[in-house]
């Protein structure tokens, strides 16, 4: 049975990260920007798991465990911030949230 190489996994991880980054840059809805951030986090976990598998160590897997926990907490806090923002400003479009600009 031929296994995919480490290179293949890293390429996928990089592509996924790039897609998430592109989304963060071009999307105007704060919620979708946040989803793309999650995509970037998942891409980094994929690289960690691949490194861990191909080096025969356990540390990457445990690290992914922690990343999952932190990501869950981060999503909760971020969405609470977005809801609070929407209550105050009645918009979540990035273009209209420019109070700090002037």
């Amino acid at each position: 049975m031929i296994h995919p190489t480490l290179h293949a996994y890293l390429a996928i991880s990089a592509a996924l990260f790039a897609l998430g980054f592109l989304g963060v840059l071009i999307r105007r809805n704060t919620l979708v920007v946040f989803m793309c951030l999650e995509l970037m986090l998942v891409a980094s976990t994929l690289a960690l798991v691949a490194f861990s598998r191909f080096n025969g160590t356990m540390d990457g897997n445990v690290f992914v465990f922690f990343i999952l926990t932190v990501a869950a907490a981060e999503v909760a806090v971020g969405l609470a911030i977005i809801v609070a923002l929407f209550r105050r400003r009645h918009t979540i479009q990035v273009d209209e949230l420019n109070s700090l600009k002037n």
């Binding site: 049975m1 031929i2 296994h3 995919p4 190489t5 480490l6 290179h7 293949a8 996994y9 890293l10 390429a11 996928i12 592509a15 996924l16 897609l19 998430g20 592109l22 989304g23 071009i26 999307r27 105007r28 809805n29 919620l31 979708v32 989803m35 793309c36 999650e38 995509l39 998942v42 976990t45 994929l46 798991v49 861990s52 598998r53 191909f54 080096n55 356990m58 540390d59 897997n61 445990v62 992914v64 465990f65 922690f66 999952l68 926990t69 932190v70 990501a71 869950a72 907490a73 999503v75 909760a76 806090v77 969405l79 609470a80 911030i81 977005i82 809801v83 918009t91 979540i92 479009q93």
Partner: protein, 172 residues
């Protein structure tokens, strides 16, 4: 067989991730995010990290995407405008395309990994549940405690952020 499944999951993941980026509707984007996470969980299974695949589905696909959907429907914003690629100047376009090209070139042509890292070792450590428990309760005991504290702080923070303080609202 493994190679076919791998290619299938890769295509699935990348197409769904592209769907998150290009979908105008936030609900559709969240659904595409769900599909992309399922694809990544499949790749985790291909890497023999069964527990992590399960946790990814449980935490991300179960809890996080559901939370996203709740908030999208709660806020009920109008559809997103076109993704803002049109505002880019020519210089920015050329620069970005050049950077992407250099990145691909350096990854596929110039990168060299050490020889043992290129072939999968026989022992799949990620499949062993006992090892996770052993690591979490010995080497990583302090981080586990810190994570617990972080979750507590995040919970309190979310409550404070989303609670309406009537008196202070009137005062400000």
């Amino acid at each position: 067989m493994a190679q076919i499944l791998f290619n299938l999951f890769v295509a699935f993941t990348l197409i769904s991730a592209a769907g998150v980026v290009v979908n105008k509707n936030a609900v559709n984007a969240a659904m595409c995010l769900l599909l992309a996470l399922v694809g990544v969980a499949g790749l985790f299974v291909a890497l023999n990290a069964y527990l992590l695949a399960f946790l990814l589905l449980l935490v991300y696909a179960g809890a996080v995407v559901a939370l996203f959907l709740f908030i999208v429907m709660l806020l009920d914003t109008k559809g997103d405008q076109r993704p803002g690629l049109k505002h880019l100047s020519l210089v920015a376009r050329v620069l970005a395309a050049g950077l992407v090209g250099v990145g691909f070139y350096s990854f596929f042509v110039r990168s060299r990994l050490p020889e043992p890292a290129l072939s999968a070792p026989s022992a799949a450590l990620g499949a062993d549940l006992k090892l996770y428990a052993y690591q979490l309760f010995t080497t990583y005991l302090l981080p586990v405690q810190v994570i617990g504290f972080l979750l507590l702080a995040a919970m309190l923070g979310v409550i404070v952020l989303s609670k309406k303080f009537e008196n202070t609202e009137d005062a400000s």
